[in-house]
Symmetry: C2
Subunit: 112 residues, 2 copies
Amino acid sequence: MSDHPVEAFEPPYYVAVFTTVRTENQSDYRETNARMEELVRDIPGYLGMDHAQNPGGLGITVGYFRDAEALAQWRSNAEHRAAQARGRADWYRSYTLHIAKVERSHGFTRTD
Amino acid sequence: MSDHPVEAFEPPYYVAVFTTVRTENQSDYRETNARMEELVRDIPGYLGMDHAQNPGGLGITVGYFRDAEALAQWRSNAEHRAAQARGRADWYRSYTLHIAKVERSHGFTRTD
């Protein structure tokens, strides 16, 4: 995750849009998040991730996956499931997850 | 757009995921953005918007729409199209837009 947005791939592909508001208790969050970023890269069909965070407020993470199988594999990963449970127990005040199939995409990059 | 994430609606609905990196030239950006937020609320089928911004870096805006017709109406809005052209001319170093149909969603809110 850098400050280059993930590119527009050829549809169809999937996005997982995860919006969060966190609690004050962020114990182990950073380490677990780093571990999740490492794990998801091993999923065949994982295409990339964008993340933005309002300081002290809303965060949005968008994961990009080639197909439903890639998403299913990530969803069923045991370490990922443990991290989700920890998130509900400790880190998140609220979150929403939207799983969606991309029908159209385009990108723009300034050339000057 | 507040620090409550938009809720999980009953699928199907659409997300428009817009990731951006901005230039140094943000002249008129704030006013235009406020005007766009005002305009989009008039689109029948507009459901809401989430936005997060890394200070000085990547921004992600997610718009939620009930159906493809709502998105098409927003896409063809003349003031919106003018703002998009201005964005490419001045405000954005790069951006990516992903239009996707939500198949599954869920939300979590802490109760304690």
